[in-house]
Symmetry: C2
Subunit: 358 residues, 2 copies
């Protein structure tokens, strides 16, 4: 098959990990006789420095014309410490999600057995946990009206959802539940928020259409607790943009490290594949970032956007094999990891390529 992929590496470790992701795509093309062509585009701080705009038009145009997007990260400490900055790297990420209509963010949380000991959570609590998050990605307080009043002394943001926005992501979550353990947990704060009450109404209205799926509703505070207390109770979880942001980062601890978690952002057109870790400026340029989230994002791309199941599985198996062989980046190492198995970003990528070539 012929596929055209736009690589948007962005800021911080986005550059380093995406380089590995791209190599994996090339290796897959080679092995399975596909023709993958690549282009690059700017986003975030990198784009601001080059063009003044965190999301140049060209990036949107190229993205729309592609078959899939391999994404790195956005963010820069400079803006974090300047609350008054008007132009911010994050506008790039939010902008591309909105421009491409990527309303469904899938975040699979699954622990590779070899990493059981890398988590701060007890192995017996984790073993067998397998959660698929659906985070809504183009609505909520991320995109509602915001501003200042009272001469700048009061600031507000609007949490807002419309029925169709809830229905389309909840549909995707129900459909996914049907292919898995048939359990759906919808997370909201309906005891306080009107937007959550609408969310819950929609889920309740749709549930009878999926009689085989066992539906539960949890308040976001309880969900944050239950994820750690008993992650195995969850199968598919669906929630809004803000709650999904918080809960999936938290859930990264179930997978041992944020450095292991991939995500797919899909909607009506081109899908975008992205590690859930951010730009991580504290380790940028040191060559120690874990590239496996980018590699696993490639696996999601092959599966979801290209329908290449075998190829996707080959990538996941390579990750598994490399972990089984004892190789670790710093974030997933523990006191038993021998020095010669502790790898940097590039060396870890090379191991993956080695297993893929085998």
């Amino acid at each position: 098959m012929k596929k055209h992929i736009v690589v948007i590496a962005g800021d911080g470790i986005g550059q380093e990990v995406t380089a590995v992701g791209k190599q994996v795509l090339e290796a897959i093309a080679n092995k399975y006789k596909h023709e993958f062509t690549f282009d690059t585009a700017l986003i975030g701080h990198e784009a601001i420095e080059a063009t003044g705009n965190p999301i140049p038009d060209e990036t949107i145009t190229k993205s729309k014309a592609s078959d899939a997007i391999l994404f790195g990260a956005v963010g820069h400490p400079k803006y974090d410490n300047d609350p008054s900055a008007k132009v911010r790297p994050e506008q790039g990420l939010l902008g591309i999600r909105k421009a491409l209509g990527l309303y469904a963010n899938l975040r699979p949380i699954k622990l590779f057995d070899e990493l059981l000991s890398a988590s701060s959570i007890k192995p017996e609590i984790l073993k067998g946990a397998d959660i698929l998050f659906f985070r809504e990605l183009t609505g909520d307080v991320y995109f509602g009206e915001r501003g200042r009043k009272d001469e700048g002394n009061t600031a507000y943001d609007t949490m807002i959802y419309s029925r169709y926005e809830v229905a389309r992501i909840v549909t995707k979550a129900f459909d996914a539940a049907m292919t898995r353990r048939k359990k759906l947990c919808s997370v909201d704060k309906a005891n306080v928020l009107e937007s959550s009450r609408l969310w819950r109404e929609v889920v309740q209205e749709m549930a009878p259409r999926y009689p085989e799926v066992e539906v539960e509703h949890q308040f976001v505070d309880a969900a944050a607790m239950l994820l750690i207390k008993d992650p195995k109770r969850f199968d598919v979880v669906v929630t809004g943009n803000l709650f999904g942001d918080i809960l999936t980062d938290e859930a990264s601890q179930i997978a041992g490290s944020m450095g292991m978690l991939a995500s797919a952002s899909v909607g009506d057109t081109t899908g975008l594949y992205e590690p859930i870790h951010g730009s991580a400026h504290d380790i940028t340029g040191k060559g120690v970032a874990n590239p496996l989230a980018s590699v696993l994002s490639v696996a999601l791309m092959l599966d979801i956007s290209f329908g290449m199941k075998t190829e996707a599985e080959a990538v996941v198996h390579a990750v598994d094999a490399v972990l089984k062989a004892g190789f670790r980046t710093r974030d997933i190492a523990d006191s038993t990891t021998p020095a010669d198995k502790l790898l940097g970003t590039k060396a870890m990528g090379d191991q993956i390529l080695y297993y893929l070539a085998a």
Copy 2:
């Protein structure tokens, strides 16, 4: 000393656990020769059933006239599953917080050594963790304008903060940090939200007044991850109402169980003391609820509202002694707990009273 306490037991297990809390107050009065008088007031579902109003005027009047409030819980599944209900138990809790100006919710998270094994988190990650949360309690999306538009098909809530609201809670958090390990972590989502940018601005402006305090800012998603990955890195954490709701429930797993966590809601007048667990209708009336969060709420009341340090310590020591003696309620038991040490609510309360009397 003479003190007048209003007991607002509310819904679900609120009744059972608060009964124990009140007994502890009586035992303390007896032992230390104080005169504690009591009154009761209605709230939540209980109040709706009796008066149609989740927060009757009488409850506010009595509360304002008291020296402290011992609170149980609010909530009822009936409303959770009916997103269109106009009158809801939670309005009682939000109403009393607002009416009494209880803008600062203190939630200490500390693991009793005996419960190291009760948590889903590894003991070596937990040991020594000691976090004091300051959750803002009378602002944010809890109290902003909310409603529907487009014939009910769009729902919105307003996240909103004013400078003075941020400043007064952050002041309390800085002051507390000065009496502890002198570290303050402020949690927001300033990379996306305007209300968070205002929050961060205020913290940044105030920091120079506390040169000894080491201040850090974390985004709420990263904070949710770090709490589980490395709870020991936190000392005092200050955050808004919604983020605080989510993070403190999550952090309950650091303390082994939600059933162990007490909170103090304070402001300009009477303080309110409340377990952070909710009404827990699944176990209501079964006599198995853990009363220790209510008991520890009493300890906070004695300390913060009455300035009775010795008495407060006596209560905490009683909890410690009972745990050391091996007694457990179901939520903090594990497979090694012998049957005769597994206690219900009342029996656990009796053990506490026994140690207090000693």
